[in-house]
Symmetry: C2
Subunit: 340 residues, 2 copies
């Protein structure tokens, strides 16, 4: 029986929201032939992440060139080995790969990371024990540097990274204000993740009103872990305390067009001066070589059930482009995955 190899080809740069019109679905018979040291994998879960939309900007971003057109959309995947010409991998093994939006891939064994399903569900390799976990852990501990008793504000707090930052900050003894869109997310952040305070930014008409609510709750902000930018950041910056640390982890409010043609917002950098604050941009890739260090600390918490790693799973390879866009409409909670 012939297996079909399906691929989402990124074919056109979106100007605003991204959708299936920017991709082409290609189907072909699966090529089973392998070379020495190669492994054939079948994807089980696809990661859908905000950085993907950054790479679609027409301007230089974290790479000098945008994601190329005419090739498979890049991205992280949890897969199973179906054939192997490398002794380190056998059929049935679970692996993490960066083979992107395709049902199968022929990959060099050296590009695969084994997943031990005994530690945690395999999907955590794309979440708390993968890139989002690394981003949350090192972004908070290296750039945010929270002290016990300090106020940590997290924007995008119900997302894959934000929901972990909330929990990691609580473990550091910080008092945490979690900001998210909508009362359901806020209830979850309060009741399940134990944020000290929550705010639904959608309930406020402008940054001044949101800031006044933040100030009434926290008094001031020592660490701001920003996933969102825009109005939420406008509200936080005037509230920073002396020596505050601002971590720029994401600016998701700007991704659907604002990277190419920037939005306008208030000029607030003078507050950096008054408070002698520090702002630092962080990227997950800078901490890849320290995954072992993070895993040694976080994996035991995951195994013991002490970390909530919420997942929103969308079924069907066909749903990938729509799933990517849904990151920016804000309906999911925790890590967004597409199941093959």
């Amino acid at each position: 029986m012939q297996t079909t190899h399906r691929q989402w080809i990124y074919r056109q740069r979106p100007a605003a929201t991204v959708g299936s019109e920017h991709y082409a679905l290609r189907e072909q018979p699966l090529e089973m032939a392998l070379g020495a040291g190669e492994v054939l994998i079948e994807a089980r879960y696809f990661s859908v992440d905000p950085y993907m939309r950054i790479g679609q900007s027409g301007k230089p971003t974290y790479d000098a060139e945008p994601h190329p057109l005419g090739v498979v959309q890049q991205g992280g995947v949890v897969a199973q080995v179906i054939a192997s010409l490398d002794t380190a991998f056998a059929p049935g093994d679970w692996v993490r790969s960066y083979s992107g939006w395709q049902t199968h891939a022929r990959v060099a064994a050296s590009d695969l990371t084994p997943i031990d399903p005994g530690i945690a569900p395999v999907t955590t390799a794309l979440g708390v024990l993968g890139m989002p976990g690394r981003t949350a852990w090192f972004g908070l501990t290296e750039a945010g540097r929270p002290h016990a008793g300090e106020v940590v504000v997290v924007s995008g707090a119900a997302g894959a990274v934000g929901s972990l930052v909330v929990q990691f900050a609580k473990r550091h003894g910080a008092r945490v204000l979690a900001i998210a869109g909508g009362p359901d997310k806020c209830a979850w952040l309060r009741d399940v993740l134990h944020a000290d305070w929550t705010l639904d930014y959608k309930a406020f008409s402008d940054a001044d009103a949101l800031g006044a609510a933040m100030k009434a709750m926290t008094g001031g902000v020592d660490v701001y872990f920003d996933n969102v930018g825009g109005m939420v950041t406008d509200a936080v910056i005037p509230l920073i305390n002396r020596r505050a640390r601002i971590v720029i982890c994401g600016q998701i409010s700007q991704y659907s067009g604002g990277l190419d043609a920037p939005d306008l917002g208030p000029r607030l950098l003078h507050h950096m001066l008054y408070q002698r604050a520090t702002m630092q941009g962080i990227l997950a890739r800078d901490y890849v070589h320290r995954m072992d260090e993070m895993t040694r600390i976080v994996a035991p918490w995951v195994k013991a059930g002490e970390i909530v790693f919420e997942e929103t799973v969308i079924d069907g390879f066909d749903q990938l482009p729509a799933a990517l866009n849904s990151l920016f409409t804000g309906e999911h909670r925790g890590k967004l995955l597409v199941r093959a």
Copy 2:
């Protein structure tokens, strides 16, 4: 003969540009009586600094409360002792004081810093060997951290702080782009301060055009020492290199009203993320305890004539409010002083 004690009383908060209408000139007979440990000084030079306008904002800035109304305008002064009940000071001695905009002051000896006129002109105590020098030195070395060969961009480069940053950065082996307003300042920055490149921001209609010129000159920016904010900063941020350091020393373009009701500008913080850049606000007051350290390095350069410390001196106590506003109209070069 009775001496007149003249004082500029800050009496009304400016909404936009500041001028004499926000001050009242008070004259009274000079009170000569001194207590134990007190010194009577007569001001010779008054410092006029951008931070003074920050303190006139109606919102919290570097202090929780704005400069109080109904009192002498605060500020640094170079003065001479005319009477003393402290053994450390004798009539004729030069001192630095924070006695503000008044011709005379009765000051505790512990609040005075002696000036040695043998090292350099006494006015340097308000410039290269005073607050602006400290700001330039520690802002650049501690927050900017330039390496030899890196590109350092300085905005407000012809000002008291900027003109020193240009020279200190050159001494660190950096290549320096000096940005100022007008061709005369640029010629001075190039010919006298030996900036590698200069740009007259007033010759550009928008940040994109200014940024294109910067990019053509420098290729990219490793350190941005910002005194100005606004359009110049909008042009620099998209050009930062990996691990760039942005020093927020001043935002002078915003001081005449923009601190109370912020201007709008493009949202550019996503560049911090791509380049894993750091932005840090600095204030001179944080380095007061390290003045000895800076003096040990910089004073020999000053004494040897290796540092250009340009001064613009306005004659007349009456001119103080107008001199303050002239900081924001950009006509002076180097340190702006008013001579009593």
